[in-house]
């Protein structure tokens, strides 16, 4: 969000510069069970975003003082590879990764049945190997598939998707250019079975009407992703999509 100062016209004849309609997701491909060592894993491509998620757990909780007597904790960790962006990112954990890991951990604790594993940890590692806007949503979407693949008891999956605003129009799932020069970005994550919102952020500028429109659009995007998540698991474990 550089603040919409750009003169780029992002919508022409009802189509976006990459040919999508305003409420259309980029292409998403999800594959479960792609890693050998992790208890559960997922590879996700979303437009040009590429993310691996891997799960270990329940395991012993380190450091000890983070243990909860009555439940497990979810330790999610979002990392971007140095080569995942045009200007090489320095290796290691920065403030942005720390915040994203924190809110993804909280979102996942909503659906993981943490009370079944007192004092344990469930480790969810997300590696972004190529990044083109929307990686926090991509990582969280991959994370719950990897948790399911690991057989961790959950009440539901969590799909995540953003809506945004470009050229004064509310659109779904900003791409890299729209994100750089857009006017607002609203990442969302839901629990489809209950309709609950477990992750929500907003940067930018939205009128009250635009906000409601964006929230509804992102919600619908999450429901579409939910189908793709379920198909990926069905594809791995049989039972048809």
């Amino acid at each position: 969000m550089a603040g919409g100062n750009s003169d780029i016209e992002f919508i022409k004849k009802g189509k976006r510069l990459d040919g999508r309609k305003p409420d259309e997701l980029r292409e998403v491909r999800i594959e479960a069970g792609v890693l050998n060592r992790a208890d559960g894993s997922c590879y996700l491509e979303w437009g040009n975003n590429k993310v691996y998620a891997g799960v270990f757990g329940p395991i012993e909780c380190h450091p000890r003082h983070k243990q909860q007597q009555d439940r497990a904790i979810v330790q999610a960790r979002y990392t971007m590879a140095p080569f995942s962006v045009n200007d090489r990112k320095r290796p290691g954990y920065d403030r942005r990764s720390s915040e994203i890991s924190y809110i993804i951990s909280q979102a996942l604790e909503r659906v993981v049945m943490v009370e079944q594993f007192p004092r344990a940890a469930i480790r969810v590692d997300m590696q972004v190997v190529e990044a083109h806007a929307g990686t926090r949503c991509a990582a969280l979407t991959a994370a719950s598939v990897a948790l399911a693949d690991a057989g961790i008891p959950m009440t539901d999956l969590i799909p995540s998707c953003a809506a945004g605003k470009v050229s004064d129009t509310v659109v779904l799932d900003l791409n890299k250019e729209e994100d750089n020069y857009g006017q607002a970005d609203l990442p969302l994550a839901i629990v489809p079975s209950t309709g609950e919102v477990v992750l929500l952020q907003l940067d930018g500028h939205l009128t009250p009407e635009e906000f409601e429109q964006a929230l509804d659009m992102a919600y619908k995007g999450c429901m579409d992703l939910y189908e793709i998540q379920r198909a990926a698991l069905a594809n791995r474990y049989g039972g048809g999509a």
Binding site: M1, G3, Q69, D70, R95, R96, S98, E99, S101, Y102, I103, Q106, A107, E109, R110, L186, V191, T194, G195, E196, V197, V198, L199, L200, Q201, L202, D203, G204, H205, L206, T207, P208, F211, E212, L215, D216, Y219
Partner: protein, 262 residues
């Protein structure tokens, strides 16, 4: 009684009150605690404020230093925001580098100011491609009585409103002038207590809340920033309702901010 038992008793008590539209400190569900703003207290800062919201107190200092612009924005100043959860503010705050809650707090306040375009960064260019003003916003939490998000946003806005560009000291112009500000974001934070949602949670309410929602509007009633926290959840309707509530509930704070920065 174990501390877990105490926490559960407190949770039961607070949630029961909330369901009846009541709160431990007697407020209504959508009422802010008392607010006080003092500005210009720190002589070494270009702008400063001490803001109390109930028994939460935050001191904010704004420093303006001359630096070089980023290569990809040669005509714009820049800014950096930090939050220090000082050990004296809460028994829970530990010394050491900032942890996740402090990082989240600083980043949410930062985005609220940055993405709302509160500061006109082009007005902070001294010499295109060579010299710009860098704005440092450093928030020191002195007393953690709940709802740091709203208190910090208000402290940052007050300190920015209080800040003067030190042209004279740096030999850039013969008069110090106000920072170029174009928008005044105010954030309202809601807590979910059981099935009820309340504004401006105090310390005890934060201990038992399941979810947190921060909503920042500008003075025109447009949204500028949001952040949902904790592992509880809101329905979309609850979120829409909270956004509507925030649009009017922020009037008290906005009035105090206006008086403090006039």
């Amino acid at each position: 009684m174990s501390s877990a038992t105490v926490a559960n008793l407190m949770r039961g008590h607070i949630e029961k009150l909330a369901a009846q539209g009541k709160r431990t400190d007697g407020r209504g569900a959508n009422e802010f605690r008392g607010v006080s703003i003092e500005t210009g207290l720190i002589g070494t800062a270009e702008g400063s404020s001490r803001v109390s919201l109930g028994d939460t107190t935050v001191m904010c200092g704004v420093k303006l230093l001359v630096g070089t612009p980023y290569p990809d924005s040669p005509g714009r100043g820049s800014m950096t925001t930090t939050a220090e959860l000082a050990c004296l503010a809460s028994e829970q705050f530990e010394p050491g580098p900032p942890r996740e809650p402090a990082i989240e707090l600083a980043r949410v306040v930062d985005r609220g100011i940055r993405e709302s375009q509160m500061i006109d960064f082009e007005g902070l260019c001294i010499e295109h491609g060579e010299k710009v003003w860098i704005v440092f916003i450093d928030m020191h939490i002195l007393d953690h009585g709940g709802n740091l998000f709203d208190c910090c946003t208000l402290a940052a806005a007050s300190a920015l409103g209080n800040a003067k560009i030190p042209n004279v000291q740096h030999g850039i112009a013969d008069k110090d002038v106000d920072l170029p500000l174009s928008c005044w974001p105010i954030s309202c934070t809601f807590a979910k207590l059981g099935e009820t949602i309340v504004l401006d949670p105090n310390h005890d309410e934060e201990t038992v809340m399941s979810a947190r929602l921060t909503v920042a509007h500008d003075e025109n009633g447009n949204l500028r920033a949001m952040q949902k926290g904790y592992s509880g959840a809101f329905t979309p309707d609850e979120i829409k309702a909270s956004v509507k509530t925030a649009r009017t509930a922020d009037k008290t704070l906005r009035k105090a901010l206006k008086e403090a920065t006039k």
